[in-house]
């Protein structure tokens, strides 16, 4: 029974999903499916509560060491539950009663979340693989949900084929590691892998896993699918899939790189270093000339994956904490901005181009203002989550001597400012006289809640980051090899002189 508590959020979500399906089946064909959305949201809320409650559990494993709940996994549980909750609310806002397959959509979101959560708490590569598949497959499906449009199925197809392609690599990687050690348990690897008599297999396995996960987090050069898929998928779904699976995949990457194979950092730091540089550069340069909003955000998400990878190269407890913190702030602002887009553009993308958003703040000051806030946070302006995210990431990297990476990264954030700011300027520019008046439906309750959650999160992370930061730091403490935080103030000769 105690074991069940350790996967309580997953259970809750699963049950909620099943409930949604059952109710859906009982409802009349013509009846509005929105209530199901509220039901699902309730489920997500319950899962969020359960995840938070898990903080009260003592760290430990369950089901024969297949899952472990500790500060780290709970941190990501909470995050994922929050993301799903927000995504559900956004969906509720942007869909209409006539939108088909709503029941399935809500259920899929919940089930997908189950997979993501398992990814973050699993300590057995098998379960990680299953979780990955659960989250991926549900995302493939959701990407194709707007069947009427020509784009949506295409994005689903691209995502599906390339995703499976990458999964094969991931799987092959696991096989290699299994071959090198004879086990697929993270803990076992952490303790015994170093003694493997076939390190070559370990290297290759590690590389293949990095490839597979790199694809999932859309890190260059494995990013190619991202823009197309984001463009075609329904905006609310993008809100979820641009954050949830990524966050989970990053958690897995942390587990494997820092938890299972830290002694191979000599091998994986260079890969991640280059992936970070490529992701940041390609993402930002690619976004420069975008005219479609969603593609632009796709490139920006590539760039942000790069920033997050920078934290990995720090190879320190600070790095883990920074990555976790960045995941949160990125999720907050990205979900938020997609909330605005999916409201303004609607479930079936009425507004696709940046220019369509010209004068948004004239039509709806609230939406304009909030969108500007998220964009500013994406730029990384202080007093928003985006800034402290970048700040911690680069501080950690620089503290580990990654001077060049830091410089490249911050120059990149300068380039990024261009297209984000162009967006902000567009929102606040006068609407063109010739342009037809854009019809923005007045924000519904779920949207307001979602916007409030995300905006509040963005600001809190920017102004009072201490809470989340310490959570992230305690998450970092769960890694045995980094349990002693690198004393940041080690090299400080002046610390004794207390500031007056």
């Amino acid at each position: 029974m105690n074991d069940a508590l350790r996967i309580l959020p997953e259970i809750v979500l699963t049950l909620a999903g099943i409930l949604v399906m059952l109710v859906d089946a009982t409802m009349a064909k013509t009846a509005s499916r929105k209530p199901l959305g509220w039901l699902a949201a309730l489920g997500a809320l319950a899962a969020l509560a359960a995840s938070l409650w898990q903080y009260s559990l003592p760290p430990g494993t369950a089901y024969f060491d297949v899952v472990r709940t500790d500060a780290f996994s709970v941190f990501f549980h909470v995050l994922i539950a929050g993301i799903v909750l927000a995504a559900l609310l956004i969906t509720l806002d942007s869909v209409s009663d006539s939108t088909e397959g709503l029941g399935e959509l809500f259920a899929l979101m919940l089930f997908g979340a189950v997979g993501m959560m398992f990814m973050t708490c699993a300590t057995e590569l098998l379960l990680i693989f299953i979780g990955l598949e659960v989250s991926s497959i549900s995302t493939y499906i959701m990407a194709g949900f707007r069947r009427k449009s020509a784009k949506s199925p295409e994005s689903a197809l691209k995502y599906f084929l390339l995703g499976s392609f990458a999964t094969a690599f991931f799987l092959y990687g696991i096989a290699m590691i299994f071959g090198a050690t004879g086990s697929t348990s993270i803990d076992f690897l952490a303790t015994h892998a170093a003694a493997s008599h076939m390190p070559g297999l370990l290297y290759v396995g590690l590389a293949m896993i990095v490839i597979g996960l790199g694809f999932k987090v859309s890190a260059a050069p494995f990013h190619v699918w991202t823009p197309d898929v984001y463009e075609g998928a329904p905006s609310p779904v993008v809100a979820l899939m641009s954050t949830g699976p990524k966050v989970a995949a990053f958690a897995v990457l942390l587990r494997i790189a820092y938890g299972a194979l830290p002694f191979l950092h000599g091998h994986w730091i260079p890969i991640l270093w280059w992936m970070a540089v490529l992701s940041m550069t390609i993402g930002n340069l690619g976004a420069l000339r975008q005219r479609s909003v969603k593609r632009l955000l796709a490139y920006s998400s590539i760039a942000h994956a790069g920033y997050l990878l920078v934290a990995f190269t720090a190879f320190s407890a600070d790095g883990i904490a920074a990555a976790s913190f960045y995941a949160v702030s990125y999720a907050a602002m990205n979900v938020g901005i997609f909330a605005v887009i999916s409201h303004a553009g609607g479930y079936d993308d009425r507004l696709t181009l940046i220019e369509d958003y010209r004068g948004l703040s004239y039509r709806s000051p609230l939406l304009g203002g909030v969108m500007a806030l998220f964009l500013i946070s994406l730029i990384g302006i202080p007093f928003t989550g985006g800034f402290f995210g970048k700040f911690y990431v680069f501080a950690a990297a620089l503290h580990s001597g990654m001077v060049w990476l830091t410089i490249i990264g911050l120059i990149n954030s300068g380039i990024a400012a261009f297209y984000y700011l162009r967006m902000v300027a567009t929102i606040y520019a006068r609407p063109a006289e010739t342009a037809p008046v854009m019809s923005i439906p007045r924000p519904s309750m779920p949207l307001l809640i979602a916007l409030f959650l995300t905006a509040a999160a963005t600001l809190v992370l920017g102004i009072m980051p201490q809470g989340v930061l310490s959570a992230a730091q305690s998450a970092a403490q769960t890694y045995p090899s980094f349990s002693q935080p690198m004393p940041v103030t080690a090299a400080a000769p002046v610390m004794n002189t207390a500031s007056r």
Partner: protein, 515 residues
């Protein structure tokens, strides 16, 4: 006790006001009036500083130092010294004026405008009072956003481009600035300015000179762009042209110059001196360049932009000669530019409200129609050209006389700017106000200054005269702050026997290093 929290109040009262503005109804002049009250309140609060400032004591005062973020240690550390004191006051003083000048100019999106306007106030004040590098950086970056948005919102023709140009020009270098800050943190383990200063001064860190040089360069470039210093001024004309007057008033000068004083001179004295020759050259070039280009403009706003460039270059010259007098002059000139430049922009915008263009070639003979405006315009122009008994002269004179012993050649060239500035200013005045009334002026019948405009302009005019005549009141505080940054011997008594005044002064200049 007010004194303990005064800086927080001054900094965040505008923010509070902004939040209220966001909730106010879009009806009548509610927003304007409220914003005006908020800015006036802020100004009133800020008057607390000079009253209770201890001019004898050179360190930071009204200090607030609380923990903000535990690890990495970022503190909420505020404080002002003789340098930031007046800059804070300048900012709060320009607050109400900014509201008054926008009163009629901003008709649409007033709520957004005043919301961001107040946010900008907070950001700028914060820059001047923050003593923690990250806190400072926060305000520094934050000050870009409302500015950019307002430029995009109000720019008549190419607002968006100007906004982006401005933002990128400032943001890109400040990214490198952040790298330098983080690097310093990695080496010293603190973001606190005071501790950083102590650590770097102690020289016990064993940092490589090259690395320090790069760090200081990263600082300098970020600030120089914001000033702007000569080759980095690409954004200035466009922004001055597109920005609403209330923003154009504050976009250039004080923020960047303050940062150079505080951080480049405060943290990297040697490195600053190493790069001084270049900066002096740029400063002098900037003086002449700005003046000459102002001579070539036909658009009032662009002319003002280039004249601002010229006047600010005086500050650069004064800073990098490291003579105490020159530094005082540079600070004083910063204040001057803030006041006089703003006054000129305000006047021009009043002309624009009446005649709807900034193109001087369409003007002429306005003096007959608007004598009061013409009078104030001439006074302002004279202040900018450095007429004695007005503030401009004191600044220029201190800068030049202070720097002259250090670099007679450069300063000699720079002094030519005095001639040029007179040329373009008087020419501007003549083209707008003198001669026969142009068709534009004949067709548009418009009244002379109304009460609001008088309230906008007279405070600045009076301040120009006051600062020109009673400069010691300002300089006594500045002198205290600068004495730590200047070279010990502030002039070379090459051949003459030092006059008594000098003998007395040398020890005063020598007593440096006030943490």
């Amino acid at each position: 006790m007010l004194t303990d929290r005064i800086l927080t109040l001054i900094t965040f009262v505008p923010t509070g006001g902004a939040l209220v503005v966001a909730l106010l109804p879009r009806r009548g002049r509610v927003v304007q009036v409220f914003t005006l009250l908020v800015t006036l309140l802020t100004f009133g609060l800020s008057l607390h500083l000079p009253v209770h400032f201890d001019y004898a004591h050179h360190g930071f005062q009204f200090v607030e130092n609380n923990a903000w973020i535990a690890s990495p240690a970022i503190r909420y550390h505020l404080g002002v010294d003789g340098l930031s004191l007046w800059l804070v006051l300048l900012t709060t003083f320009l607050g109400p004026i900014g509201v008054l000048v926008s009163w009629r100019a901003i008709q649409t999106r007033t709520k957004e405008f005043y919301f961001f306007f107040l946010l900008q106030q907070t950001a700028m004040i914060g820059v001047f009072v923050a003593l923690d590098m990250i806190l400072y950086y926060g305000f520094w970056e934050l000050s870009l956003v409302p500015m950019a948005i307002l430029i995009a919102m109000c720019g008549p023709s190419r607002g968006r481009q100007a906004a982006i140009k401005f933002f990128l020009y400032t943001f890109l270098p400040s990214a490198l600035f952040l790298v330098a800050v983080l690097w310093l943190y990695a080496k010293t383990g603190t973001f606190d300015f005071v501790q950083l200063q102590a650590a770097l001064a102690s020289g016990s860190l064993g940092l490589s000179p090259a690395a320090l040089g790069w760090a200081s360069l990263a600082f300098l470039v970020a600030f120089a762009v914001k000033v702007p210093v000569f080759p980095l001024h690409g954004w200035l004309p466009d922004v001055i042209q597109e920005a609403p007057t209330a923003m154009a008033m504050v976009v250039a000068g004080k923020l960047g110059l303050y940062s150079i004083f505080r951080f480049n001179l405060g943290l990297f004295p040697e490195q600053s001196r190493a790069i001084a020759p270049l900066m002096i050259a740029l400063g002098v070039i900037g003086i002449l360049y700005g003046a000459l280009l102002a001579l070539a403009q036909t658009d009032m706003r662009r002319l003002i932009a280039y004249s601002i460039l010229g006047n600010l270059s005086f500050c650069i010259l004064g800073i990098f000669c490291f003579a105490l007098t020159g530094l005082n002059g540079a600070v004083f000139q910063t204040l001057n530019e803030g006041i006089t430049g703003s006054a000129l922009l305000v006047l021009v915008s009043f002309l624009y409200e009446r005649y709807g263009t900034y193109d001087m070639s369409l003007y002429g003979g306005v003096a007959g129609r608007l004598p009061m405006l013409a009078t104030l315009y001439v006074i302002t122009a004279l202040a900018l050209t450095g007429l004695p008994l007005l503030n401009g002269f004191v600044g220029e004179f201190l800068v030049l006389s202070g720097s002259f012993p250090v670099h007679p050649d450069w300063v000699g060239v720079a002094a030519l700017g005095v001639i040029l500035s007179a040329s373009y200013m008087l020419w501007m005045v003549q083209r707008i106000f003198y001669g026969q009334p142009s068709s534009l002026v004949l067709n548009r019948v418009s009244a002379d200054l109304n009460a609001r405009e008088h309230f906008t302009l007279w405070p600045m005019a009076i301040l120009m005269l006051a600062m020109g005549v009673l400069s010691p009141y300002w300089i006594r505080a500045i002198d205290g702050a600068m004495s730590g940054l200047a070279n010990p011997a502030s002039f070379t008594a090459s051949r003459a026997v030092p006059a008594p005044a000098m003998r007395a002064a040398v020890p005063a200049a020598l007593e440096t290093e006030k943490p």
